[in-house]
């Protein structure tokens, strides 16, 4: 009987962990000693960082989508169906076509916007958290001739914590280039007492926003949105009027992990922050946006985590003790204008020390958008620095 590795979810984390393992286990896979299966209902893999850049015309649909099958190593089995129930005690994942057993399970089930948490949110405005919504927003930004453009965070945590900051900077840059900046007031609205979770980065962001005349509204926790009056109302009793609202929705975990009783608070999977094992299980791992560990919900975190999990599963399959721990490493770009960016590199113990914004970081970000398909997603850069 082959040893079975089952990966639930074919996003960034799931695809990288499968490919990383497939490269290491090529001979065993060919010999039928090991099987790696990726399960996902979608045949398409979407590069989600494109969602922020599509509204400004910096990326396009064709650059954001590939077939999942084309990204996976030939030795990895891809089943285009969703998990309907995950039974960790009995090592079984149920799908519409039957039950799948496993020796090692990787839950890479991601995060999803949950508009229902804030009344009025879904009808109120625009967002860049799906491909279709990114294109709707692109049209809206192009039509917007002036007024108050409000970008607001309606719940923490959410995918890509720097994205709302980047959106405000990009909007400033976009309308400046069009000669419309004086007609467009840009507001950034955030629930915390500073414009980002990490203190020193928040100070830099505040300085940059002040310099760019972006209004920063803090401690504004959105309670409801009134699409008719075009108003955001906060739990703190304040109201912000908008002409165009770009709202980051609250997020939650995948329905299958909630229905299977695996999820904890917020729909996130209780996960050991170092081993990345699902708490209480030594044969089930969780990576990427799906976990409850205190790191950014970002593709780079999923990438670094995938390298740790692939290494430790390889160790176990070969009779060794797991040899890696995840140190909380995350790498995020912050695009600060159309043409400049900075970079955050941090882990559990070391806060980021971002360099001043510069063209080289921006250039690298755009190059990385293309490298993702040929190198990162294919598992060819396994955990540099992990």
């Amino acid at each position: 009987m082959p040893k079975k590795v089952l990966v639930v979810g074919g996003g960034t984390g799931g695809t990288i962990v499968a490919n990383n393992l497939a490269h290491r286990l090529h001979d065993k896979l060919v010999a039928g000693e090991v099987e790696i299966t990726v399960l996902d209902p979608s045949p398409l893999h979407v590069y989600q960082p494109a969602y922020l850049l599509i509204p400004f015309g910096i990326m396009h649909r064709s650059e954001a989508i590939r077939s999942e099958r084309s990204l996976l190593a030939e030795t990895v089995r891809f089943r285009q169906e969703g998990a309907t129930k995950i039974d960790l005690k009995n090592r079984t994942v149920q799908t519409a076509s039957g039950n799948l057993g496993y020796d090692f399970l990787v839950l890479a089930t991601g995060a999803r916007p949950d508009y229902s948490q804030v009344p009025g949110l879904e009808k109120a405005g625009y967002d860049f958290y799906t491909l279709d919504n990114a294109y709707r927003l692109r049209e809206a930004l192009g039509r917007f001739g002036g007024g108050r453009l409000v970008t607001a965070v309606a719940g923490i945590p959410f995918k890509c914590p720097t994205a709302p900051i980047e959106f405000a900077f990009l909007a400033d840059s976009y309308y400046s280039r069009l000669g419309l900046r004086e007609k467009v007031q840009v507001d950034y609205v955030y629930p915390l007492p500073r414009p980002f979770t990490i203190q020193n980065v928040a100070e830099d962001v505040q300085t940059m926003m002040d310099g760019r005349k972006i209004n920063v509204n803090l401690l504004f926790n959105i309670e409801s949105v009134d699409p008719e009056k075009k108003e955001l109302k906060s739990m703190e009793g304040e109201t912000i009027k908008y002409d165009l609202a770009v709202l980051t929705p609250p997020h939650t975990g995948a329905e299958v992990v909630i229905k299977s009783g695996i999820a904890g608070k917020g729909g996130w999977i209780p996960t050991d922050r170092y081993s990345l094992r699902v708490n209480g299980y030594d044969d089930a791992y969780a990576i990427g946006d799906a976990t409850d560990i205190p790191v950014s919900k970002a593709g780079s975190a999923a990438d670094f985590e995938a390298a740790v999990v692939a290494t430790n599963i390889w160790d176990s399959l070969n009779g060794f003790a797991p040899s890696l721990r995840y140190d909380g490493k995350v790498m995020c770009f912050i695009i600060t204008s159309i043409g400049e960016a900075t970079i955050l590199l941090f882990d559990y113990e070391h806060p980021p020390k971002p360099p001043p914004s510069n063209f080289a970081c921006y250039w690298y970000k755009l190059v990385y958008n293309r490298m993702y398909w040929s190198i990162t997603a294919k598992g060819l850069l396994p955990g540099v620095g992990v």
Binding site: I156, P191, T197, G237, P294
Partner: protein, 81 residues
């Protein structure tokens, strides 16, 4: 969330959660509570001592103080409106 019968305080144990986790959990609890309720949040994140009073002041609730325990703080807030 549990209820301490003697002090009639709703306790939220957010120890092990990092910024902004404890503040977000407090905000959620205040949203679900009645005016006059006291909420006590347990936090091991030192940033909570700075962030929670700022939020309670802005939101019009009453900051009742901090009790330092071994490795964490008990921060009390009363919902006022």
């Amino acid at each position: 969330m549990s209820e301490n019968q003697q002090e009639k305080v709703k306790v939220i144990d957010a120890r092990g959660s990092f910024c902004p986790g404890p503040l977000m959990e407090l905000i959620r609890a205040v949203k679900e509570s009645a005016v006059g309720d006291v909420i006590e949040i347990w936090s091991s994140d030192t940033g909570s001592q700075r962030d929670i009073p700022k939020w309670t002041e802005k939101a019009g609730h009453e900051f009742l103080g901090v009790i330092h325990e071994e490795g964490y703080d008990r921060i009390k807030v009363r919902k006022k409106r």
